[in-house]
Point group: C2
Chain length 569, copies 2
C-alpha cells in the first residue's frame, strides 16, 4: 500500500467531512494543533510508512521470523526500520509531552496505525501494543514503575507485550493459572506459561516489557482473582540506575507457524520465578488490562481498513491495466477489466467500506479525546458512550470486511491473485487474524448486545442513534433507526424469557448497528463531497451494502418472534 495515495482522501474526510481540527482544538491539550500542522505530520508519516515500512512487507512474509535456541531473529531490515521508527518519534505521537510524547490528538495516531498495517502488518505487530501498554502503566503503575518504564514505552525505545492467553485459557481469562508470589523486597516471582504472545521475544529493542496476567497466592478463583504484573526481559541494573542488568527468567520456548503475519513472532513464553512488579491493585488486573484492550480494539478495526485499502490499491491498479473480454456496451473487442460491471462492483463496494469505515473510526478517535479532555462532564459522558458502543462494532465489522474485502480484491486478479507475485494473497492471510485477536468478533457482538445495549435496556443505543451529528437523516434512514430501536426493545423483553436469545443473534445485531453507522457516515461524506470519486462508492453502499440491514432485521424479528410466541404467560 502507498500511504501517500490516501493522503488527499483522508485530509478531505478529516477536515471537510468531520471538521476534525476544529473539534480537537476545542480541547485544551490540542488547542495549538491546527489543521496545517496536522497535515504536515500526516504527510511526513505517509512518507515514512511508504519508504521505510512498506518495502519490507513481502520479504518479511517470505523470510519470516527465525527461532534459534530461545532467540528470535526478525526478518532482514525489520530492526533498522524499527529503530528509525522510534527515533523519529512515531510511537509517541499521542503520548503526553511529559512522558516524551508529542501530545497530538488520538485521531492522527489512528491514521498512522491504519497505514502501518496496510503497508506491513507483520512489522506493525511489534509497536502495535505500545500505546495500550503506555495507557495501562500511566493509569495503574506505581510512581516508581512509571519512573523506570513509562518514558521508555512512550517513546518506543522498549517494546511491550500483553501476556494473557494460556494454552487452556483463550477467550476465558478466568482460567489463567500463572502465579505471582510476593517477595519481601516488594517484587513478585512470576511462574507460568503463556501462548500467542506477539513479540514475546525479538531483536528489535534492547528490552521487552511484558504485562502479565497472573494470580497472587490468596487470589479468588475466576477472573476476579487476576492481577497484572510488569515483567521485563532485562532487569534493571542493580548498581547503575537506568542501565540494563541481568536477564530475567523469561524464555521464549518456540514460535508458532501461522497462516500469515510471518514477520511477527507469535511466542510461547515461560516465566520461571521471573521477577516482576504488581501493576495496579491486587486482583484488579483485568480492569487494568482492559485499558489496554479498549485502546487496542479501535486499532484492530483500523487494521481492517488499512489492509483493505492495501488490497484495493492493488486490485484497482490491476483492473486498470489488465484487458480481458469485451465489456457490455464496449466497442473494442477487449476491454479493461475495470470496465466490467462485476469488477467495478467489487471495487466500489470495498471503497464504500473503506471510506465509511474511516469516518466512523476517525470520529471515534475524536470522541476518545473528547471523553478524556472535554471540560463539560456531559460531553465527556456522551463521547464515552459513543466509544463504548461503537468500538466493538468497528472492531468486528471492519476486521470482517478487512478479510472478506481483501478476498474480493483477490478475485479481481483471477488466478494471478492466488499466486504470491501480486501480494494480494498475503493480505488475505494477514487480515484473517484480526477477526480473532483482541476478543473474537463473536465476543465483540456479545459485548455490544449483552454487556452494553441490553444492560441499560437499550437506552444508550437509542440515545446514540437519536443524536447522531450532522443533518437530519432521510426518511428511510430514520425508519431504519426506529426499526432497530424497536427491535432492541422487543429483544430486551424476549431475553427475559429466553436468556440464550441475545447470544444467538448478537452477530446480526452488531451487523445491523454497523450498517446504520455506515449509513450515517455516508450521509456525512455525501453532504460534503462531490464527483465520481465519492458518488460511486456512495451508490455502491446504498445498492449493495445497505440491503443487508433488512436481512439482519428479518433474522432478528423471526428469532425474537419465536421466543415471544412460546413465552409462557
Amino acid at each position: 500500500m502507498q500511504a501517500r495515495h490516501t493522503l488527499d482522501d483522508i485530509q478531505h474526510l478529516l477536515t471537510t467531512v468531520l471538521q476534525a481540527p476544529r473539534r480537537w482544538q476545542a480541547l485544551a491539550p490540542f488547542a495549538d494543533t491546527d489543521g496545517p500542522l496536522a497535515a504536515q505530520v500526516l504527510d511526513e508519516a505517509a512518507r515514512f510508512v511508504d519508504s521505510a515500512i512498506a518495502p519490507l512487507n513481502r520479504s518479511g512474509d517470505e523470510e519470516g521470523c527465525r527461532f534459534d535456541a530461545g532467540q528470535v531473529h526478525s526478518p532482514t531490515g525489520f530492526r533498522d526500520a524499527y529503530r528509525a521508527f522510534w527515533q523519529a518519534g512515531w510511537p509517541s505521537l499521542s503520548c503526553a509531552p511529559e512522558h516524551g510524547g508529542q501530545g497530538l490528538p488520538a485521531v492522527l495516531e489512528c491514521v498512522l496505525f491504519e497505514w502501518l498495517p496496510g503497508a506491513n502488518q507483520g512489522w506493525t505487530m511489534a509497536p502495535g501494543l505500545l500505546h495500550g501498554a503506555y495507557e495501562c502503566l500511566k493509569h495503574h503503575a506505581s510512581d516508581a514503575l512509571q519512573a523506570q518504564y513509562l518514558e521508555k514505552i512512550a517513546t518506543g525505545e522498549w517494546l511491550a507485550t500483553m501476556c494473557l492467553t494460556e494454552a487452556h485459557a483463550g477467550s476465558d481469562l478466568g482460567l489463567v493459572r500463572t502465579k505471582g508470589v510476593p517477595q519481601p523486597d516488594g517484587s513478585v516471582r512470576v511462574s507460568g506459561s503463556k501462548i500467542f504472545i506477539s513479540g514475546g521475544e525479538h531483536d528489535l529493542t534492547d528490552n521487552i516489557i511484558h504485562l502479565v496476567l497472573a494470580r497472587l497466592p490468596d487470589a479468588p478463583a475466576g477472573p476476579k482473582g487476576l492481577s497484572l504484573f510488569l515483567v521485563p526481559k532485562m532487569l534493571p541494573h542493580v548498581h547503575q540506575p537506568g542501565a540494563l542488568g541481568e536477564r530475567n527468567a523469561v524464555v521464549c520456548e518456540r514460535i508458532e507457524e501461522k497462516m500469515g503475519l510471518h514477520g511477527s513472532p507469535t511466542c510461547v513464553m515461560r516465566f520461571d520465578d521471573a521477577t516482576g512488579w504488581l501493576v495496579g491493585e491486587p486482583h484488579k488486573g483485568l480492569a487494568a488490562m482492559f485499558v489496554m484492550m479498549n485502546a487496542a480494539r479501535l486499532h484492530v478495526g483500523l487494521q481492517g481498513i488499512g489492509l483493505l485499502e492495501a488490497a484495493w490499491q492493488k486490485a484497482s491498479a490491476y483492473a486498470q491495466e489488465r484487458r480481458q473480454m469485451r465489456a457490455p456496451g464496449a466497442t473494442e473487442p477487449v476491454s479493461l477489466i475495470h470496465d466490467h460491471p462485476a469488477i467495478r462492483r467489487i471495487l466500489h463496494t470495498q471503497r464504500a467500506w473503506i471510506d465509511g469505515g474511516r469516518v466512523l473510526a476517525y470520529h471515534t478517535a475524536l470522541q476518545l479525546d473528547v471523553a478524556r479532555h472535554h471540560p463539560d462532564a456531559s460531553e465527556r459522558a456522551s463521547a464515552q458512550r459513543w466509544c463504548a458502543l461503537v468500538t466493538p462494532v468497528l472492531k468486528a465489522a471492519l476486521t470482517d470486511q478487512g478479510f472478506q474485502g481483501a478476498s474480493a480484491c483477490l478475485q479481481v486478479f483471477g488466478g494471478h491473485g492466488y499466486v504470491r507475485e501480486w501480494g494480494v494473497e498475503q493480505i488475505v492471510r494477514d487480515a484473517r487474524v484480526s477477526m480473532i485477536y483482541e476478543g473474537t468478533n463473536e465476543i465483540q457482538a456479545i459485548d455490544l448486545l449483552v454487556r452494553k445495549v441490553l444492560a441499560d435496556g437499550g437506552q444508550g443505543l437509542s440515545t446514540l442513534l437519536g443524536t447522531l451529528p450532522g443533518a437530519a437523516p432521510s426518511a428511510a434512514a430514520s425508519a431504519r433507526r426506529h426499526a432497530l430501536v424497536e427491535i432492541t426493545h422487543t429483544l430486551a423483553i424476549a431475553a427475559q424469557s429466553d436468556p440464550e436469545l441475545p447470544y444467538w443473534v448478537a452477530d446480526d445485531y452488531l451487523r445491523a448497528v454497523a450498517l446504520l453507522l455506515l449509513e450515517w457516515a455516508w450521509g456525512q461524506i455525501s453532504a460534503h463531497s462531490h464527483g465520481e470519486r465519492w458518488s460511486a462508492p456512495a451508490q455502491a453502499f446504498a445498492q449493495w451494502v445497505l440491503p443487508e440491514f433488512e436481512m439482519r432485521v428479518a433474522i432478528l424479528r423471526q428469532r425474537i418472534g419465536q421466543v415471544l410466541e412460546f413465552k409462557p404467560n
Copy 2:
C-alpha cells in the same frame, strides 16, 4: 477429513432422500448396479481415501512441490499414493467398461471426488482433470488417438492437463496466441507458452497428456479460431507400439508460489514445436474443451463441499473438547464451546450448506446420467436443462461457501485456528482457489443469467422451478419461486433498455437461485429425515441462511427499478 464419518449421512441422502439407486437402475448401463453394490464401492472408497490420501495432506502442504531444472518432485508419498489410486481402479469409476472403466453412475464418482479434496486437495489436483480429458477424447478424438490414449487416461495410468491460460489470456481465451502448424505426416507442431497448468510436469506417472488450445495458421481471430491439440510429454515409440519413445519438446519453466495447494505444481509450460495431434475439428477447440469444463465444474463445486466438511469435522471435534466460559443457562462455571450459541450457529449453518449442497450436487450427478442415457428424449432434455442451469450455480455457491464456511470453522478455534497445528488454516488457503478456476464465480453468474436464463427469456428457469421433484412446496417457498420468476421477467425487459444491467446483478441472481435450490433440497431432506442430526441444520438453514434470499430480491428489484424508471418510452 475422515470420509468414513460421512458414510452414513451420504448413504441416507443417496438412498432415502434421493432414491438414487432406483433412479440410476432405470438407465440401461446401470441396471445391475444395485444399492448394496454402490454402498460397497463407497465403503471401499472411504477406506482408501482415509488411509492413503488424507495422511499426506499436511505434509504435502508443508513440503510442497520442488522444482529443479525442469523436473517437478512431488511431496513425499504422493507418487506411491497415486500409483495405489490408479491400480485400484478409482480413476475409472464411471468410465465405460470398453475403455477399462467400471461403468458406474456418475454420482458415485462425485462422492469420491468430494472426499478426495476434503482429504487432500493438493494431491487431488493430479487426477482432477482425468475425467474431463476422458470425456473430451471419447467424444472428439480420432480413432487412432483414442486407440493410443483413451484407455491410459480412463484408467489414470497417465495423467492429463488442460492447457488453456496464457499470461495475457485468462478468462478471455479468445486472446490465446499459441500456434499449431500442420505437418505432412498429419501431426501438428505446437509452439507457445501456457500458465497455471496444474500438473503440467510431475513424477506421478510415466507420461502426461496435455490438451492444448492453440491456433492453426489459417485460424480466424478470437475464440472461434481455437483448435484443440493432444500433446504428450513422451512421444509414442517409433518402432515398438504401445511403448514410450522420445521426450517431446514440452518443458516446465517454473512452478508458482501460491496461497495454498502446495502439493500441486502449478506450472508455466513452454511448447517449442512440440509434436501434437488435432482433437476434433479445426477451429472447434473451444467446444471440445467445454466438454471438459462442464464435467469439471460440478467437481469443483464438490471441492467446496469436501473442504467445508473437512473444516467442519475439525471445528466440531474441537468444540466438543474445548472448554471456555459459562454458556448462557449453564450451571457449571466453564462450558464446552459447543454449548455457546455463537459456536453452535456456525456449526449448524455450515452443516446446512454441506447437507443441502450434497443433495443438489448428487441430484445433478444423477441428472447427468439421465441426460446421457435415458431412453426418453424429453427426459434427457429436461435433465440437460437442469445440468445447464444448476451447474454454474453449484460451482459458484458451493466454492464461495467452501472458503467462507472454512473461515467460519477456523473462527471456532479462536487463535488456535490461525496456527498450522490444527490444519484448518490450510483448508481456508486451499479452498480459496476454487472460486477462481474453471471460470471465476463472477463468470459463472454471467453464464447463468446472461447465457442461460435470459437467452430464453427465463422460460427454462421458470420450468425448472415449476417442476422441482418431490412434495408440493410450502406457501412461502412457492411465493419465493414466483417472486424469482417475476423478477426474471422484469429483468429481461429492463435488460433491453440497459444491456449492462444483467452484468451488475448476476451475482445476486445466482445467489437467489442457489438459495431456492437449497430450500428445495432441505425440503427433500426434511421430508425423509428425523432427529436432531437433521433438524438442527434444517432450522439453521431457515433462520440464518435463507433470509439472504429476500436481500438478493431487494437488491435486484431496486436495480431493475432504477433502469425501468429511466427507460425512455
